[in-house]
């Protein structure tokens, strides 16, 4: 009789009565020692691998800002000098294993500045013709060219406008003559940028698409003439343009310029004297910036970075050390019921 009347009686289930079977990890010295030893050893292993790999990567950095008067590019660093070319000589002592990546680097350049980053028109860059005529106002003030009948700018915005425009040519000095090292400019940008995100309008020839627009103020050439040698490398899918548009995360950055993968240099740059011919256009002194070129080969872990390897080694050894400390603690303070 009693049982039937209890309509209000709560369900006696493990969930409602909070009696679900539970795993209760205990954080105490005795239990974590083996775990720590294992983690420590694994970390040391990873650390060694990373460190060795990083060590094997060769990097050559050459600053060509031309701050010092003795520097070959000193004259070019004056922003008033236009179309300046400077020559830079350097020597490679041993074979620079290939494939060699050739980067240009900028220091103290804030591509991550918020307003700078917003100053572009993704729709225009993905080939939307209506945005050619009226670019998004996010591009302001690089939206319309006020000196040119307020014509829309394509590509508009500050990022595109400030595109890096130094060009490089590398020669190997062989017996007094200069031998051009062939650069591979294909595939230096992200595949998705080149194939998906950035698109040229479906207008042929490409030049017509840009009718009624003007080139960015800072640019010497319009977008459709960026690479005269390869018609497929023009407009918004120009590799250099794509590389530039992918904004660097930090103020000191490098961007891939070319790869050296062809001809005699497939295996790398052999030891010898080299000459770098720089068309010096990009002003950096206005913000105390630096320009450099970087030669580097890469491994599975990317560019040279010893930090991660060292970090793994340090943390690994710390874990092992801590497990020793724990052992002492355990011996002294073990909870009596644990035995």
């Amino acid at each position: 009789m009693v049982k039937q009347e209890l309509a209000n009686r709560p369900d006696n289930t493990a969930f409602t009565q909070q009696r679900l079977p539970a795993w209760q990890p205990m954080l105490s010295a005795g239990i974590i020692i083996p775990g720590f030893v294992l983690i420590g050893l694994a970390f040391i292993g990873i650390g060694v691998a990373l460190f060795v790999t990083s060590r094997s990567i060769q990097v050559l950095e050459i600053d060509y800002t031309g701050v010092e008067t003795s520097h070959p590019c000193f004259t070019c660093s004056d922003p008033d000098v236009k179309k300046c070319v400077c020559q830079l000589d350097f020597t490679i002592d041993s074979l620079f294993k290939g494939p060699v990546f050739f980067y240009y680097g900028l220091n103290n350049y804030f591509q991550n500045y918020r307003k700078y980053g917003a100053s572009k028109d993704d729709d225009q860059l993905s080939g939307d013709l209506s945005n050619f005529k009226s670019p998004s106002d996010t591009c302001s003030p690089y939206e319309y060219d006020s000196n040119n009948n307020d014509k829309p700018i394509a590509p508009c915005g500050s990022i595109a406008n400030s595109m890096f425009n130094d060009t490089f040519k590398l020669y190997q000095k062989v017996n007094g003559s200069k031998k051009l090292v062939p650069f591979d400019g294909k595939g230096i940008a992200w595949w998705t940028d080149y194939n998906v995100k950035y698109r040229n309008p479906d207008v042929s020839p490409l030049k017509n698409a840009f009718n009624g627009t003007v080139k960015p103020l800072f640019w010497p050439k319009p977008a459709y003439e960026l690479d005269p040698s390869d018609p497929a490398n023009n407009g918004f899918i120009n590799q250099d343009f794509l590389v530039w548009m992918r904004r660097a995360a930090l103020p000191d950055f490098r961007k891939l310029y070319r790869r050296i993968t062809e001809g005699d240099y497939r295996l790398g740059l052999p030891a010898g004297d080299y000459n770098l011919e720089i068309a010096y256009n990009y002003p950096v002194l206005s913000f105390d910036g630096r320009k450099k070129v970087v030669f580097s080969n890469v491994s599975w872990m990317g560019g040279k970075n010893e930090f991660l390897g060292i970090a793994y080694l340090v943390i690994g050894s710390m874990c092992v050390f801590m497990s020793l400390v724990m052992l002492i603690v355990y011996a002294k303070f073990k909870f009596p019921e644990e035995d």
């Binding site: 205990m26 991550n112 500045y113 998705t192 560019g303 970090a311």
Partner: protein, 1335 residues
Amino acid sequence: MERQRSLMERERPRWWSWQRWGHSACYKKKDRKRKKIKGQERERAVVSNLPYEGLGKAKQPNRYFPGNAIKTTKYTLLLFIPMNLFEQFHRLANIYFVGLAILNFVPVVNAFQPEVALIPICVIFSLTALKDAWEDFRRYQSDRKLNNTPCLVYSRKEKRFTERRWKDVRVGDFVKVVCNEIVPADLLLLHTSDPNGVCHIETSNLDGETTLKQRMVMSGLCISDPEFEPENFNTVVVCEKPNNNLNHFKCYVEKPDKDKVGAGIESLLLRGCKMRNTDHAVGIVVYAGRETKSMLNINRPRYKRSKLERKLNIDVIFCVILLFSMCLVGALGHFLWLQALPSVPPYLVPDSNGHLDSPGLSGFYMFFTMIILLQILIPISLYVSIELVKIGQIYFITNDIDLHDDKTDRRVQCKSLNITEDLGQIQYIFSDKTGTLTENKMVFRRCCIMGTEYPHKENAIRLAVLDGPDSGEEVIFNQRPQPPQTGWSLDTEGDNPDDMQHHHDNQCKSKVKGNAPSDVAFSSPLETEVIPDRKLLQQISRAGSSSGSWKTDPYLDFFLGLAICNTVMVSMATAQRQRVSEFSHSGQANNSLNTLSNLVKSPVSLRHIFTKPKKNRTILEDSVVEEEHFNPPVKKEESGDTNGLQMCTLHAPSDTTATTPDHLSYEAESPDEAALVYAAKAYGFTLLDRTPHSVTVRLPSGDNLVFEVLDTLTFDANRKRMSVLVRHPLTKEYVLYTKGADYAIMELLGTPYAEHLSGKQKNIAAGTQYHLDCYAKDGLRTLCFTKKVVSDKAYERWSVNRLRALAAIDNREELVMDSAVQLEKDLSLLGATGIEDRLQESVPDTIVALREAGIQVWVLTGDKPETAVNIGYACRLLEEEDLVINMSCKNKLECTSILDCTLEEVRRYSEDPRNVGTTQDISLVIDGRTLTMALSLDLQDRFVDLAKRCRSVLCCRVTPLQKSRVVKVVREKLKVMTLAVGDGANDVNMIQAADIGIGLSGQEGMQAVMASDFAISRFKHLKKLLLVHGHWCYTRLANMIIYFFYKNVAYVNLLFWYQFFCGFSGTAMIDYWLMIFFNLFFTSLPPIMFGIMDKDVSAEMLLGVPELYRTGQGEGEYTFLTFWVSMLDAFYQSLVCFFIPYLAYQDSDIDIFTFGTPLNTISLFTILLHLSIEIKAWTVVHWVIMLGSVALYFIVTLAYSAICVTCNPPSNPYWILQSQMADPMFYLLCIITTVVALMPRYMFHVLKNSIAPSPLVQARHLDRLDQSTRDEWMKEWRSFRSTSPVKRHRLSTPPTPTLETPADIYPQPVSPSDFMEDEFTLNDLTENYQRPVQT
């Protein structure tokens, strides 16, 4: 009791009573004056709708009154959105977030796409709105159901009652309610099927009281015809404006002859009540719909802010300060950075005019941009999450099967939804005694008539046997045995009933056990039966045999008083209600009673005692029927057994029982009354029937006496007594029977009873008082009974005043009380009764556990100090080795000196180097008068200081107002968390004054429950509610809140650190959508689950080791320190999470969002793994939610990166996670960063748990052991603890000049170890200390 004001006009010429009232000049003048002042506002006039039936709405006289349809919904369908938004904007936090969202629309300062910034606030708003809409919809549904309930309304067209829906009922309609139907609106009762014009209602829907209440037809209206014709009712009903007082109503009907007939609450049927015991009743609707008293009594759930939430708000302010300083750093940094630039770099974007803001202005703007960027530092979803967590916690509390009471089928109710965690921080409990610690089931134990004590030994034995099976259900963890019931047993003579009890226990238990009732429910026959005292029976027989004793026999008068002087209703057992059904034929009851009857050796046969000449039988014309009805069995029994002794008639032929009073069931408003009526019945004075105007009592001789009830002076808290004025059918005397508290009666005594006749100069009052004190010491509730014969002249004089008082509308209560006081004087003492109110099960265990949990328990009671002290010992509020300070002072000076002396003594004790590490167990007993002095402003501090040092405090004879004052003073002076628990209306003040009010839904109605935050049904539930749920709720919520703060800081700081590398320009390296998702989806569920379900220690452990509760008291786990430690940890972790990837990607060609993605991922892992360190118990739910969150992160982010090609322009998430996940560096980075980030916290936990484990950690260790080892450990733990304070130096007795009973209150010191050894020695010892030496 007030409700049952007896109206005596019916028997009197109507012209007399009502004309007097009608022509009372005084009244009329007053009335007019009031009308002038307030106009019509205080009254409403209601006329019958019937003459206007079918007319247009404009012609309806009652059109201004609302209809009976109710609407409890907050919103309407159309206005839901604006109204809900308006509601939500009342929250400061919401305004803050909306302000930020608006700020984002200001172009110079915006940090994100403005539209996107609206998303979080919209989600929060819509979640809250959804919750509100769902609640409102449920209200709507229940409204609709209620509004469409059918009821019977009179229709003039059809000349009968027709079925209509509740919502169509209007003021002025005539509604007929049939048995067991619910009253649809507030009705003025005009007619019932009962010839006496009464009907019964059950108000359990309204106030939870399950006792029947009697309502009677408005007197003075000529509508007592058998068939009521609503159409003939053409008078105006004038009643007061709607109000929410359920116990008060005033109205009068103006008859055509200008006479006014008044009526009160006794003629009002309240909406929501159930009609009982009456075939049907008809009334006119005076209040409908939302104006009904029950609707006006509906309160929204109370909003209380918990202590934790108050602290949390302080920390939110800290967060605001932190946010502002971080923004200031950003603004300043931006300014300096701009300042340091030699000229304009290409990446600085001028405005459309080619103009660049000055560094100062840019810095200023940047401040606001930073606020937008770092806004999550103020945890946006914290408030919503807390609400969700509390809903979950309440779900688990209300679903706890241990907090469900099988007897009443009630769960624990949470009325305040947001103070669950306060349950885990309680430091002081203030408890009522009656009904809270005790059952409030009264059992008659002993009585004293004319100064002679009748101990009722056999009855005591019977009750002791009943207790047998109960005491077997001791809770496992209670090592010390419950103080034995011997403290209760009374013995004035040489032979020890305890020995007998032990002796019989074994015999009886074995017999009882075989078919012992599974639940000894309220008023089960076992409890209501009383075995009469032999000596007393002989006395009665002597009195009965002497003829002509009607006038002066004190024994007869005493029992008549017992039977008459009450408001107990008699209902037939055929009524559906089972609760109070008095007797069943079940074998179990008979069996055990048989056993018991055997115990009473050779019961005196009453066979011949009450045989009286037939001519003496009583008789009032209208009771002939009843008399005839009851007579035959009596006659039959003349030869067999009388019904004088119920227990002796068990073997009576069953065919007679069908018509004997065994089928009566008593409906008492207070359990005392029922107990007394049952006691009277046991001696043969059976209350057979009670109508408003008569009481029928069957005498031991089998005759029925019908007393005409002239008036009932109901009980009130000021008088502390009640009286019934009857006309004795035989002597034709006006007799006033009064019963009440001893102090309320003793001062009113006049001539001793029958002094002039007996000639004995016996000091009855002194003798009775002596016994009363003995009763009180034994924890019995005492009542004195008196008789007074009122002369005809005096009665007439008095009744005039009385009527005037009853008819008054102004000050009616006072006048009525004054008139009662006028009559209640010069009383003759008959005797006194002692009623036992038994402790609820597991009360001592609960109190001990609560005390071990570091909670100070105070008991506040209206009882006498002796009663209270005794109950205190019984429920282990006071222990034998305690030093009990008794404060009972006559004046303030005395009070001050006691306080000072005691304090001095106590201080000296604690400063004594010998007492380092020991605790003193002082208990304070204080009475109401002294309490008033102690709580006066100048003594308050001293009193609180003393009370703070006491282990328990017992306040006796306190009023409801004092109760709340005590709570307030302690709460404010000591700044502690208080909890008040009570069951009656007198506890409401206290319940509302405390931080947490707990109502016990017991025998005394629901007022306490209505006012409470939590409602439980047994006191013992408090133990699990506090020790387990309180602890859990608190630790869960505290940890969840700390975690929430940590989570937001840890995440937002990533953005902050990045500002140092982007010229403080407010760039976010994480896609904004992903940031929103991160907070809303990826990391929101785990902390909520953590707050609802984490279980640091098992319930068994928390109950077994109440000390664990102390972790939550005072500051608890959520302190200034824990908050800032977790903030520091958040800073550290964010530093690690930012700078390890930063160093790893330094000087590379990484782009912003490729850099941000591992940061986001690492952050997710760190935040979730941080939570895993904090989670103490992993159930399936934990695993699913934790792994689900990680899976959700990857699925959503991958999908988003795959779909979003050009969306959300400034960011560029396309294919980024995919390319990152193809890079081994990503995983290596994630692993090491997470490890480094969590290492310190992990190591800290490990080292702390190993080197200095907190009690909670130790308990968790024990939890992992198997059951038997755990119990062993627990035992060891407890014994270690309980033996530690053995060597204590006792305080010397402080001077207490007014100490009344030093022998009882200062037991000799006993070393606890002495009696820890075995149960029996303990019993013996406590017996000695508990039982006062009696003569």
